[in-house]
Amino acid sequence: MNAPDRKAALQGMGDSRLRKEDARFIQGKGNYVDDIKLPGMVHMDIVRSPLAHARIKKINKEKALAIPGVIAVLTADDLKPLKLHWMPTLAGDVAAVLADEKVHFQMQEVAVVLADDRYIAADGVEAVEVEYEELPVVIDPFKALEKDAPVLREDLAGKTEGAHGQRYHHNHIFTWDAGDKEATDAAFKSAPVTVTEKLLYPRVHPCPLETCGAVASFDPVRGELTTYMTSQAPHVVRTVVSMLSGIPESKVRIVSPDIGGGFGNKVGVYPGYVCAIVSSIVLGRPVKWVEDRIENLSSTAFARDYHMTGELAATTDGKILGLRTHVIADHGAFDACADPTKFPAGLFHICSGSYDIPAAHCTVEGVYTNKAPGGVAYRCSFRVTEAVYLIERMVDVLAQKLNMDKAEIRRKNFIRKEQFPYTSAFGFEYDSGDYHTALEKVLDAVDYKSLRAEQAAKRADPNSPTLMGIGLVTFTEVVGAGPTKMCDILGMGMFDSCEIRVHPTGSAIARMGTITQGQGHQTTYAQIIATELGIPSEVIQVEEGDTSTAPYGLGTYGSRSTPVAGAAIAMAARKIHAKAKKLAAHLLEVGENDLEWEIDRFKVKGSSDKFKTMSDIAWAAYNKPPAGMEPGLEAVHYYDPPNFTYPFGIYLCVVDIDKGTGETKIRRFYALDDCGTRINPMIIEGQIHGGLTEGFAVAMGQLLSFDAQGNIQGNTLMDYFLPTAVETPHWETDFTVTPSPHHPIGAKGVAESPHVGSIPTFTSAMVDAFAHLGVTHLEMPHTAYRIWKELKAHGLTH
């Protein structure tokens, strides 16, 4: 075969290789948690609180225990002797495993019922009687901070110091700030133009199609615990389980099998997991727990709930001089955000965006309310979605005030190509970018001028049946957490890992510390190895998710798989490559310096017929290594990234709003993404389609709302908006490639950008439709009813 054919046969980086995962999924042979059935397995179901804030006066188990097939009912009192009725959260707080004396939110876990099958367990849940004494409920985080607000966390009484510093109020969790307050205040004082806007990023839920669940199996004879669970971070879970249970980590095995979507929902450790594990230890039998959809939407990690105030200071011609922002962050009843330890507001301080802003300061105050805990990164790096929403909205608001075009103001303020690596006012070092080129590519592709002309004509025509809006967002993400000097979870540095073994006959296996939930790791990781080692992707197996076989890693979330684990793969492969070169030199009886690498072989320089393929070399590694060299051909690498990566994108959306009904049609959505080096274009495009669709859902319809009594509204798929194929717009995708200079293969991560970037694009378009009427902001979700009310307010409809 000639060189191009040999290269194509590898199906390495850049190839739209079809997915290795698909064969099992299209034939119904996936292996998800609820598919696991162990001998002697019992089922667990959860008794949940109907009230948002109440004291538990009494729990009566008798009627439940009298049901044939009910094996046990456990409450906080049963967990107390094991000290497992409370557990630490990833954010330095504690959370109740089962409600201890008090419930703090509706649907909180109060007791568990164990039974022979899931139907009997559900009968048992109905039969458990709980007497409550109602307490005043606090839903609004601003009211939670009022002087005489009810005390929500009695367990923290008298604690004025939290995990992130001083607490100034009984419902206050932390105040965190970043940037330079003094310089920012000075910039605002002297700036000729300032704008301010209040923005609510409402509470939403990642809602993967598979809910959370676990099958825990404790073997009392061996003292070993195996737990299959829906976890995006199985290794960290193993450490937590070992610390909580006292079982040595070597006897705890956590397996994340196939996962039916995660999107951040499956990062945390939930009471259900803990109760399944404890129940298995108590009973000595395997225990299965799988939550239903209502439980998933009501009690597992929500996202967002940020009440933001944004301010920009600028010159009269639109050069931004300063950014100031303040956030009240509703964290619910327990601080269970999943952020790197040092960052209680995640990486929110990326909120200076793609712009060269000389002075910036942000403050985030975390607050307890009677809502479910969470605050996870829903398909984004930690709080980056909120940050991008803030800056992109504010830049639009400023443009409107100055009567400038949204593209023009962005051009004017972009970090220029030659400024990279660029250190932002918040201290992030942006690795690479070329925003101007990408913006012009998008504006040309959609013929932006014509769109604006069409819009002007429609605005001038009182008989136009529609309002037209154009949204534009030019975002930068910060992903790939992260450098261990800055990022840890429970003290574990956020590195990731890869172990590669090349077998004697030239095939290979790679084991990883991450876990795919649909991203296609088994396909794309193999492509990196194929290019690095010249072994065809087809014969490279990728395994992840089993803590007994995989090297320790921090898992898959925050777009960290490619930036961190992808780098670990390349580095492990390069160790093998270096050894292979020595073997090749030995086999060809030349010096290493006489060799050059070509696709799948080392050849003697200037001599194309003297070569050894990786397959020849693999055999030799096990057959006749040179004197002094260890046999075998394998390597492991733990990669500690030197920096985050900074993918970016330019998104443009055109909407048409029916003046009569308020219904919106997304006429066009054009998404240009730059994720650096592209490993598999087909998979990248698929990830972008999915992220855009999730963004569409958030912007146009998703909302977890609560009434004054703390009743969660809309916690089924009847009410919580998941778009079908009918509502979902058609997506147009495009790309530029600006590799990351510090990443071994230049890749930046992609799957979260479309979610992060699209949400403000929809809002930008909706507001743009009303901008000529003086509207500067509209709160999400942009439902037809809300838009109809806006139309009515402006006399555009009856």
Partner: protein, 165 residues
Amino acid sequence: MSKKIVSMNINGKKVEEAVESRTLLVHFLREKMNLTGAHIGCETSHCGACTVDIDGESVKSCTCFAVQCEGSDIITVEGLAQGGVLHAVQEGFYQEHGLQCGFCTPGMLTRAYRFLQDNPNPTEDEIRVGMSGNLCRCTGYQNIVKAVQYAANKLREDAQKPVTA
């Protein structure tokens, strides 16, 4: 709880089992028949991950009792491939990258299998409406539409091929 004997044809195989009247078809298939392809995503008939084919109609098996299926012909995702050859809808989802996490896929495939028999030559809009009882959180549907179009083309081509002896 008392049980009833039900008999049905599942993927061409006759089965007879004692079930409680309250047993949902999806639990019967997954736990009694070990056919774990159909998944449970919502229990309210919204997500369609549990879709199976019953007597020529797409049915959400999470809101149907097993005892209602007495005498029925049921096809699940496990029954789509014949003689080791993938069905056109399976091939379409693979070729067009119509799946990611795979959780909705069995429901999507059984739905597409029925939809294309009802409408062998659909437009894109018809596909979007025809598949709208099945939710996907990963793909944004664009490649699912392509996958169904791929399958439609393949089924039409196969139908035109002369039958060889």
